[in-house]
């Protein structure tokens, strides 16, 4: 298998955009291609991650549309849909193409334009990834699954609403340093939990999860250019390797899992990614975890092997996961504050890690970061992709 490098990255500001889906993915792609400075070298393949364009934007075959829009003929084109893990799945497909020798240069772009739908439609669209007969039909939504998961964690491990609030406060603060973040608004414990007004400021969504425990609904796009080691040697700029990718799956219906507080697919994906990279969790300097709900950052930090089971909230409390801590998690602001355009999220995590490893994450840089790790969480944890990146010396 050939080594695969990230030659270029780019993204547009997440949030609410008046741009079309095509404009969003084209803009992010052009930024990544410019960053890669490929010169005359052609793009061999394009992979686009997206979950809802067919339903929300009435647009299908969007990878072909991107090839046309950017005039990348005769590049191959694939659209990848894997729920909220579409982004990392697309990175994996691009990685496989380069690693196998089928392509030397692959553009991977994630895009979603969710704000075209109203909140009820967007919630329903995301809920459509739950089990159709065992969950969706009974009105299950992703916030409700996350609420039950959070409740189980609280009962079993002593996680409190204060711990969940700590995740939100940290990630909102991190996003203040990220100009691409959807939400750039610091929040405080007093404002969202302790003051009498907190009940209004931070209303319940799916108990015990409240408004500030949940990610926003976002538009956005992010893009990376993957190249072979051979091609990378001929390019300028810092080198970031895709050192490992792992994927894991679990039962579709959450209630069928042996232990409802265990994120088995995260464990498998992380183990495989670390195995491929030849690294261990304690060698990671910075992580981007899929905090669509605050409880998930805590639970994933344990399942990925960074902290013992039931100890993620204690690490958070100690400040281990803050920028400057032992393992900064979500310096970008995470899904919680950078935003969560579902198809774009997994690619945006890789963009952020590449910036971190290149020392270019102004305002939120983790000092001396050389190895990064991402978890992109599909469904409610039934299909997860983990990625390990490593900065390489020229």
């Amino acid at each position: 298998m050939r080594g695969v490098m990230i030659a270029g990255v780019g993204m547009v500001k997440f949030g609410r955009s008046d741009a079309t889906l095509s404009d969003l993915m084209s803009a992010a792609s052009l930024l990544a291609l410019r960053d890669a400075a490929l010169g005359d070298r052609a793009v061999d393949g394009v992979v686009v991650a997206n979950m809802g364009a067919a339903r929300i934007n009435r647009q299908t075959a969007i990878a072909s549309a991107l090839v046309d829009r950017l005039q990348l003929f005769p590049a191959t084109a694939e659209t990848v849909e894997n729920g909220p893990a579409s982004g990392s799945s697309a990175v994996k497909v691009g990685f496989q193409a380069v690693a196998s020798g089928m392509a030397d240069v692959v553009l991977v772009t994630g895009v979603e334009k969710m704000r075209a739908a109203n909140n009820l439609e967007a919630t329903d669209f995301v809920a459509s990834m739950s089990h159709p007969e065992a969950e969706y039909i009974y009105g299950v939504t992703l916030p409700s699954l996350a609420g039950m998961f959070a409740r189980a964690h609280m009962e079993r491990f002593g996680v409190t609403r204060r711990h969940l609030a700590l995740v939100a406060i940290k990630n909102h603060q991190n996003a203040m340093g990220n100009p691409y973040a959807h939400i750039q608004q610091p929040i405080t414990m007093e404002g969202i939990l302790e003051s009498p007004e907190a009940v209004v400021n931070n209303p319940p969504i799916a108990e015990p999860l409240h408004l500030f425990d949940c990610c926003p609904v976002s538009d956005g796009a992010a893009s990376i250019v993957l190249v072979s080691e051979e091609v990378a040697k001929g390019l300028g700029g810092p080198l970031v390797a895709v050192a490992g990718i792992g994927q894991g799956t679990d039962t579709h219906a959450v209630h069928e899992r042996e232990e409802p507080t265990r994120l088995k697919a995260v464990e498998i994906a992380a183990e495989r990614a670390f195995g491929m990279a030849g690294l261990t969790p304690d060698q990671i300097d910075v992580a981007e975890l899929h905090d669509a709900f605050t409880i998930l950052e805590i639970a994933e930090s344990e399942a990925a092997g960074f902290f013992g089971r039931g100890e993620g909230h204690l690490a958070l409390e100690r400040g281990d996961t803050a920028i400057g801590g032992k393992l900064p998690i979500n310096p970008s602001g995470g899904l919680k504050a950078r935003g969560h355009p579902v198809g774009a999220t997994g690619v945006a995590q890789i963009v952020e890690l590449a910036w971190q490893l290149r020392g270019e994450a102004d305002g939120r840089q983790v000092d001396g970061a050389r190895c990064g790790f991402a978890v992109n969480f599909g469904g409610f944890g039934n299909n997860v992709v983990a990625t390990v990146l490593r900065r390489e010396d020229r």
Partner: protein
């Protein structure tokens, strides 16, 4: 008619004595303290200046809300609307939002507009609640007639409270079928939607005596969510 004074008397609607809205302070999610207070007529020009940049912002119907609010506040200042009031939310004296409405009669109030300048902190929700509090608890009315001009307003008022239909009544805002907040609905929603503490500490009240404006560009960027890279 004997002179301009008499003519003015004919043009100006009759006014009733309205108890003042007692100021309160609300801790926002950011930890900032927002003082909610009533404004006097002489403060209206400052508020008009604040919303002028939004007259052409189509997003979330800011254009129609700001245009109507502009006219309503101007009418309040020039005595061309009956029994109107205006409340503002101020953070360190800086304008965060405006709400207004008027008294129809002793039993019925009418909500006009809710405009948030500082978005993302539920300022609009707090100010709308303050407006309902004024009608029900301080003016002693039985019901408030309400319509929404944007989907956000519909979610915040009609769904969150929730309001009842009173579609047989045309609201003054364009003759749109009205919805209504009753006393029962208000007190049912109060624990989860109406916040704030009184009395406001003197130093906070002092800081809120003069309305500071965030600046045209800041207002536009806050409303459009354009922080960060464009």
């Amino acid at each position: 008619m004997s002179g301009p004074g008499e003519l003015e008397g004919l043009l100006r609607p009759p006014a009733m004595e309205m108890p003042p809205y007692p100021p309160k302070v609300i801790t926002l999610a950011s930890g900032e303290q927002m003082v909610v207070r009533q404004v006097e007529r002489e403060e209206v020009p400052t508020l008009l200046e604040a919303i002028a940049p939004l007259l052409w912002v189509e997003r979330d119907f800011y254009d129609i809300v700001s245009a109507r609010l502009f006219a309503e506040m101007l009418a309040f200042k020039r005595y061309r609307v009956r029994d109107e009031y205006v409340l503002v939310g101020l953070i360190d004296g800086e304008l965060a939002g405006i709400v207004n409405g008027r008294v129809v009669d002793a039993k019925t109030g009418m909500s006009y507009h809710t405009m948030t300048v500082r978005r993302g902190l539920r300022v609009g929700s707090h100010l709308f609640a303050a407006k309902m509090e004024y009608h029900i608890e301080h003016l002693g009315e039985e019901e408030v007639l309400i319509v929404a001009e944007s989907p956000i307003g519909f979610r915040r008022w009609m769904i969150e409270y929730p309001l009842d239909k009173k579609h047989e009544v045309q609201h003054e805002l364009g003759g749109v079928p009205s919805w209504v907040l009753t006393r029962d609905t208000y007190f049912g929603a109060k624990p989860r939607l109406v916040a704030g503490r009184r009395p406001v500490p003197e130093e906070l009240l002092d800081g809120a005596r003069t309305i500071r404006l965030p600046g045209d560009e800041t207002v536009r960027r806050q409303v459009l969510g354009e922080k960060g890279v464009s």
